[in-house]
Symmetry: D2
Subunit: 94 residues, 4 copies
């Protein structure tokens, strides 16, 4: 897709996404440490869920930025069909 | 909760969970690397979704093991109410 | 599966589930009425989401009752494998 | 919001959505009938999940139409912020 090289993620959102993913990585490392011991299943499930929640938030940030900066102007660029199809694909089973 | 110290995650499942979480961590590091460049939003969303899918699988493994080894025998131990309530809590918004 | 004929949904939960499903059906009829006019897309999405939320609640009630009355006693009956497998199947993509 | 009165759901999508919702309503009535007897919990859960799947499909149709016909042209109309915010709200916890 030709637009991939021009429709970049907004730099401010990109920085914030990095910070949040670094924190999610730290959280994941915590679960790995936990699994060196003998954790209770439900505690592991809770921690996995917390990381999922953090990833959801990063995804929402990126999605919002994409809608604002790229999808909302699709009619101007003339790539509406492509933008909508790839977005529907990525929203599936969300 | 007193049972937390006795109802440990099955060692085989724990090992498999560790392997999968290590792989998810590697994937997350790949997204962080991606964000040092100028990625397309939808590519970032796809990668986040892939990590979520990997975490879902780890969660499913742990959940299945918990149901088999701990929830299915709750009536024998006499802690059904507690087991069910904490499970419903962790399944919420899954 | 032979147990299907003996492990019935608890009567009190069944009655509450019926009431909630009747209300969800009323809500669905409201969306159908809405679609006879010229609604705004986002208003339709909000209403569909509200019905989904109501169905989630019914599902949670039935699931909780099933865990309490049937899954927690699986070890006693000796059908743990079957109970866990069918439960994991129904929880998938929840 | 002033745009609500002009950005109507596309008539073809609206008709298809009606047909699918009528079918979901029939399915819901089937579950209600099921609950007059003594169903097995997991069978009820499966049927609820099927209705949810049908509603997901209607939601996806409406969402796709909204993205194509309204969100993609937001920059032209000048209501990007409003369109994106209400969309993010409706996508939350999807």
């Amino acid at each position: 897709m030709t637009h991939e090289h021009t429709l970049h993620l907004d730099p401010k959102v990109r920085q914030e996404a990095r910070n949040r993913l670094l924190s999610a990585k730290g959280h994941l490392e915590g679960i790995l440490k936990m699994l060196e011991g003998e954790p209770y299943c439900v505690d592991v499930l809770k921690q996995i869920k917390a990381v999922q929640g953090a990833l959801d938030k990063v995804g929402d940030m990126v999605l919002k930025s994409h809608l604002e900066h790229h999808v909302a102007s699709a009619a101007v660029r003339g790539d509406t069909q492509q933008m909508v199809e790839e977005l529907m694909e990525v929203l599936k089973y969300r």
